[in-house]
Each structure stands twice: as structure tokens, then as C-alpha cells.
């Protein structure tokens, strides 16, 4: 197991190294306007002075090595446009707690609703009219097929502009960190996709598992239906999902690009949009890097978790005998 984990970690490091290098190369292709607050108003000499001070006129290998070195020390550079001269780590440090706060709430809701929904649907496939499964499927298909922008706007509108939302529940349209009520709609928006996602996959894997021979054997040996669902079907259905869960958790925590801008949440998701719009090269570079690292971590944790829950994945010496 330790060997497997070490191997996976090393591979992730290599992937990360490659991503960093590619990212560096891509950013060298960006126009230099992205390093200036108001490019039109600066003179040619001022530009050169600035570029020199940023080290952008140095030979590329030297720049690349410096980039690695900075990253190793946790230095992501300074913002040039968005908030001139402020360290990017500081900007992100302000934004990230908001995203994580909303993300955690939505994560709890999506797991708490999505997993039971999946189990309910799977169990309902064995009933006569499959009502639960059909209703659940309608929900999932709508969430998956309709562009998310549409239902986010619907949620926002229904929640804050209709009579029930506005007058009775008093939900505000935009996010306001000081007003707990304003958390409800963004969290709902953030959760709805994940609920459908968890429910869909859990249902699918549970239906798969329930038709397997070993479930038949468990029934034949007299295990009650509830215990079969819990001990055999759910547990086994969870294994293929385990691989994707860390990734989906990490991304939920990092905030959603769209939802955050819709509710004007001052979080990470909105930051990337702003950074790209304002062409803040260093900030874009740092954010892309963070998202890449999160993907890699998600996959890494997924694989490790998988190795823990599935005994068939073993990189140790084989003990069985034929």
C-alpha cells in the first residue's frame, strides 16, 4: 500500500511539473498588456523598465527556473491589474474562505440528499411501478440536460423575485456575507448539480450490483433485504464512486465560476472570471495553477481511497494460491 501511494504521489508530482511548464510557456504567449494597469498611458521606456523589473526580458530558461523557484517558496507573484502590487496569495487568502464556506454547506447538502436519493431510486427499481425511480430520473435528466445557467437563474428568480421567495421567505437576490439568509439560494444552486450527480451514479451502480450473482447468494443464505442493501449493494456500489468523490468535493469547495458571479459572491470562482476579463496575467496564471493542482490532488486522493476500499487493488506481493 505504501509503495502504491508513493508511486502515485511521484506520478502526480511529475504531472504537476509538466503542467507548470506548459502554463509558463502559454503565458509567455500572452500580450504584455496584461502586466499593466493602463497600458495605453505608459511610455515605451516605462514599459521596458517594468518588464525588466518583472524579469520578463530575461532569457526564457532563466525565467522558467525563476518561476519554479518562486513556486517552491509558495510565491505566486503579484497582481498587476486587479489589485496592483498585492501578493496573489493574499488575494486568494481573502477569497478562499468564502468559497469554502459555501462549498462545505453545499457539499453536506448534496451528499445528504444525493446519496439517499440514489438509494431510494435503486430500491424503487424493484417495485411494481418504479415511481421513485421515474421521478428521480426526471429530476436528474432535467438537471443534466438543461444548461446549468438556466436553472441557476430560475432558482435565483423563484427564490428572490416571486411572492413566496420575496415576501414570505425574504430571500435576498445577492449574496451578503453578513446575512445568513442570503446563503440559501447560492448554496441551493451549488448543490443541485451535485445532488443529481451523486444520485445518478449511486443509482446506476446499485442497480448494477443488485443484479449480480453474489446478491442472489446473499438472498439464498437468508440475509434480510435491508442488510443486503446496506452490507452488499450500497457498499459495493460506493466503490466505483469513491474514485470521483474527492475531485467533486475539492471542486465544490473551490466555488463555482457561474454561481458566484450570479449571486456576486466574493469567492474564488468569481475571481477567475474577473482576472481573465481584466487580463491580469499573473493572477490568471496563479489561478489556473491552483485549479490544476486541485484536479491532480482530487485524482490522487481518488486513487488512494479506491486502493483502500477495494481489496482487489493491491500492489503488494500476491499471497493467494491456486
Amino acid at each position: 500500500m505504501a509503495k502504491y501511494i508513493t508511486k502515485r504521489v511521484l506520478r502526480s508530482l511529475i504531472t504537476m511539473f509538466i503542467i507548470i511548464t506548459i502554463l509558463f510557456a502559454l503565458l509567455r504567449l500572452m500580450p504584455i498588456e496584461g502586466y499593466f494597469e493602463n497600458f495605453d498611458k505608459v511610455s515605451a521606456t516605462q514599459i521596458q523598465v517594468k518588464l525588466n523589473s518583472l524579469g520578463l526580458n530575461d532569457p526564457l530558461p532563466k525565467q522558467l527556473l525563476r518561476f519554479y523557484n518562486q513556486l517552491l517558496h509558495g510565491d505566486l507573484g503579484e497582481s498587476n491589474v486587479y489589485r496592483r502590487g498585492v501578493a496573489i496569495t493574499e488575494i486568494i487568502g481573502e477569497k478562499i474562505p468564502v468559497s469554502i464556506q459555501l462549498g462545505l454547506m453545499s457539499l453536506c447538502i448534496s451528499l445528504a440528499v444525493g446519496l439517499p436519493l440514489g438509494i431510494l431510486m435503486a430500491r424503487s427499481t424493484r417495485t411494481r411501478f418504479k415511481i421513485g425511480d421515474r421521478l428521480g430520473t426526471v429530476f436528474i435528466v432535467i438537471v443534466q440536460a438543461v444548461p446549468s445557467a438556466v436553472y441557476h437563474i430560475l432558482i435565483q428568480f423563484a427564490g428572490s423575485q416571486t411572492y413566496v421567495g420575496k415576501e414570505i421567505l425574504g430571500l435576498p437576490m445577492l449574496f451578503d456575507a453578513a446575512n445568513p439568509k442570503s446563503y440559501i439560494l447560492p448554496v441551493l444552486s451549488l448543490s443541485i448539480g451535485s445532488i443529481a450527480y451523486y444520485a445518478m451514479w449511486l443509482r446506476r451502480y446499485m442497480v448494477d450490483e443488485a443484479s449480480k450473482d453474489y446478491i442472489r447468494l446473499a438472498r439464498a443464505k437468508g440475509v434480510p433485504g435491508g442488510a443486503i442493501s446496506r452490507r452488499h449493494v450500497f457498499r459495493n456500489a460506493f466503490v466505483p464512486m469513491v474514485q470521483y468523490i474527492p475531485n467533486s468535493i475539492l471542486f465544490t469547495l473551490m466555488g463555482s465560476l457561474y454561481v458566484e458571479s450570479l449571486y456576486s459572491v466574493p469567492g474564488m470562482g468569481g475571481l477567475l472570471v474577473t482576472a481573465i476579463k481584466r487580463q491580469d496575467n499573473t493572477l490568471v496564471q496563479a489561478l489556473v495553477l491552483i485549479y490544476a493542482v486541485i484536479s491532480i490532488l482530487g485524482l490522487l486522493f481518488g486513487d488512494i481511497l479506491m486502493g483502500i476500499v477495494d481489496p482487489r487493488i493491491s500492489f503488494a506481493k500476491k499471497e493467494g494460491s491456486r
Binding site: 424493484r126 449480480k212 450473482d213 453474489y214 442472489r216 447468494l217 446473499a218 438472498r219 439464498a220 443464505k221 437468508g222 440475509v223 434480510p224 433485504g225 452490507r231 452488499h232 457498499r235 459495493n236 466503490v239 476500499v309 477495494d310 481489496p311 482487489r312 500476491k318 499471497e319 493467494g320 494460491s321 491456486r322
Partner: protein, 350 residues
């Protein structure tokens, strides 16, 4: 046989099972009656689709959701099993009274649970043991089924076992339930020929040790010859002949049994093509008129196409459902090689 014959442990009378498939009704079991006696070993033979698996599934409430018992009775002791509706009812039977060994050991174990835990599940359910005592019982049953080094094996997962070993584990699970009846649904079909005999020996030994009644389902007459006291031949959802092993092998009465025995490669004549039963089994979506085997039977009588034959008694233990046994029927001799079977010293198999 002898005195074991007296107590009927499972009695099936005129059982009918129908499945609904895409709006059509399939009559899978057409009025089967069979008594299973305490302590005996009976084999149900028949080709694929003859309904032998469906038949035994009825006794455990394991029919698929689209199938249902539409008539007849299954009595186990003083219980009428056809009355059972819910899973809760069936839990009184499954494992506790009747346990089952399935065909494919590669898929009948949960891949994510150690085999010890899977056996222990049965021990805890049916022997009322918990914790270390349950574990001890698991180790004992593992040793029983011939798995060495049980303490280490307890912790291993199914993928660490070979096919034959897995089938031993499946048998251990069935035994751990402490059932009265053990149903073996083609227990050796998925195994290497070399392993098959070992597994059959094991089942036989366990039957003796735990005083079990065993019901084998198989299409392999070699298996039957090895293990069974009695044979029931199934064709198209009906038992066409039932009798002791000797009676069915050496004095078969039903044309289908003749055909089945004739297709044994051991009875083939050198340099001649092996015998194959012509035609295909009837479509059970249609209601069958007369003797189901008649269309494939070259010697079929006129009445075979018109009316379903009753069960005729050949001897107190031997019955067959064919008009040939009616006193008015013309004398039709079984094929020559069937007649010579007894002179050849039976089936050499082992």
C-alpha cells in the same frame, strides 16, 4: 435407498409457474409434482430451459420479479411455501431450512468482503453465534470443506481463491446456515473437469456429515450417476420420468429419457456420428398440447399430439409420463444401445 425413503421433507404438487415477458406469458413449469425424501440425494436433469432452476427457485422464493407461482403447492414440513408473500416469510426458509450452491463460483461471492466475513454472515444469522464464537464456527466449516490454513484464508478475498476453492467457500456458506436441504444448482458446470469430481465428493461427504437432503440440478448425466439416489428428468417445464438411479439409467421408459441417454458420448459407436436429439424444445410461450416431446420423437403415437399423458407407475419408485405405458399402447422398444446399457456395466464415469 431403504428406510430413508419414508419421510417426505419437501412435497411439490402440481406446481405451475408463469413468467410475463414483454406482455407474453411463458408457462415455465407445467404442473410438476415431486416428493423429496429426508436424507436422499435427488438429481433433476434436463436440457437448458427445461425449467429445472426455476423449479428449485420456487422452493426458496427466489423467482425473478416477473415470475409467479400460479397454481399447486409446495409443502415443507407443515408449511405451505406457496402462501409466502413477503421476504420476511421467506427468511424462515432461506438458508435456515434450504440452502443453495450456485453454478458459478467466480461470481457468487462478494468481491469486496473477505470470505471469512461472508461465511460469518451466515453463521451469525442461523447459528446465533457472535464475535469470536462465530469466527471459530467459520474456521471449523472452512476446515470441513477442505480449505487448509483456515485462519489465514479467513481474511482473504475471493479473488485470491481459485475456482474450485471458491466453490468450496460457497459450499461452506451453505453449510454454515445449517440447512436441512442443500440445493446444488449445477455445482460443477463452471469448474475444471479435474476439480469437478473433488467438489462432488465434498458435497457427498458433507451430506453425510450434516445429514442433509441434497437436490442436484444438472444437465450432466455423469454427475448424476456419481451422486444421486434418484433422478427426475425434466422436459419443457414438466417432470417426464422419475425413478431410482438404476431404474432411469437401465430401464428408462420415456422416449425423452431414451433420447437423452442416447446422446451420451459414452454410448456412441466408433466411426459413427454422435447421437443428437433432432428438433428444438417447444416454445413455452404457446400452450402445449399432448406430450411436449412428441414433435421431436420419431416414434410418437397419434395420441401424443392430442392429449397429455398422465404419470404411469412403473414400479413403486418409478414413474413416467408417456402414453407408451398405457395398456392400450403398441409396444415400442427403446433403442438398442439403451437396452444394452445394463450389459455394458453402466456408465463409466469418474
Amino acid at each position: 435407498m431403504g428406510e430413508t425413503e419414508k419421510n417426505v421433507i419437501l412435497s411439490v404438487k402440481d406446481l405451475n409457474v408463469k413468467f410475463t415477458l414483454r406482455g407474453q406469458v411463458l408457462h415455465a413449469i407445467r404442473g410438476v409434482s415431486l416428493d423429496v425424501y429426508q436424507g436422499e440425494s435427488i438429481a433433476i436433469v434436463g436440457e437448458s430451459g427445461s425449467g429445472k432452476s426455476v423449479f428449485v427457485k420456487c422452493a426458496m422464493g427466489l423467482l425473478d420479479a416477473n415470475g409467479s407461482i400460479t397454481g399447486g403447492s409446495i409443502r415443507y414440513g407443515d408449511q405451505e411455501l406457496t402462501q409466502y408473500q413477503t421476504d420476511a416469510d421467506w427468511l424462515k426458509i432461506r438458508g435456515r431450512e434450504i440452502a443453495m450452491v450456485f453454478q458459478d463460483p467466480m461470481t457468487s461471492l462478494n468481491p469486496l468482503k473477505s470470505i471469512g466475513k461472508q461465511i460469518q454472515e451466515a453463521v451469525e444469522l442461523h447459528q446465533g453465534l457472535k464475535g469470536p464464537a462465530a469466527r471459530q464456527a467459520v474456521l471449523e466449516v472452512l476446515a470441513d470443506v477442505g480449505i487448509d490454513d483456515a485462519a489465514r484464508r479467513y481474511k482473504q478475498y475471493p479473488h485470491e481463491f481459485s475456482g474450485g476453492m471458491r466453490q468450496r467457500v460457497v459450499i461452506a456458506i451453505a453449510l454454515a446456515c445449517r440447512p436441512k436441504i442443500l440445493i446444488c444448482d449445477e455445482p460443477t458446470t463452471a469448474l475444471d473437469v479435474t476439480i469437478q469430481a473433488q467438489i462432488l465428493e465434498l458435497i457427498k461427504a458433507m451430506q453425510k456429515k450434516y445429514n442433509l437432503t441434497t437436490i442436484y440440478i444438472t444437465h450432466d448425466l455423469g454427475v448424476v450417476a456419481n451422486v444421486a439416489h434418484r433422478i427426475a428428468v425434466m422436459y419443457a417445464g414438466d417432470i417426464v420420468e422419475v425413478g431410482s438411479c438404476d431404474e432411469v439409467f437401465y430401464d428408462p421408459k420415456h422416449p425423452y429419457t431414451w433420447a437423452l441417454l442416447s446422446s451420451l458420448p459414452q454410448l456412441g459407436v466408433k466411426n459413427e456420428p454422435l447421437y443428437a436429439i433432432q428438433g428444438t424444445p417447444p416454445n413455452l410461450f404457446h400452450e402445449i398440447k399432448g406430450d411436449a416431446f412428441a414433435p421431436r420423437n420419431p416414434q410418437a403415437l397419434k395420441i401424443d399430439f392430442l392429449e397429455r399423458p398422465p404419470m404411469f407407475d412403473v414400479s413403486p419408485t418409478h414413474k413416467a409420463r408417456t402414453w407408451l405405458l398405457d395398456p392400450r399402447a403398441p409396444k415400442v422398444e427403446p433403442p438398442a444401445h439403451i437396452r444394452s446399457l445394463s450389459q455394458r456395466g453402466g456408465l463409466s464415469h469418474d
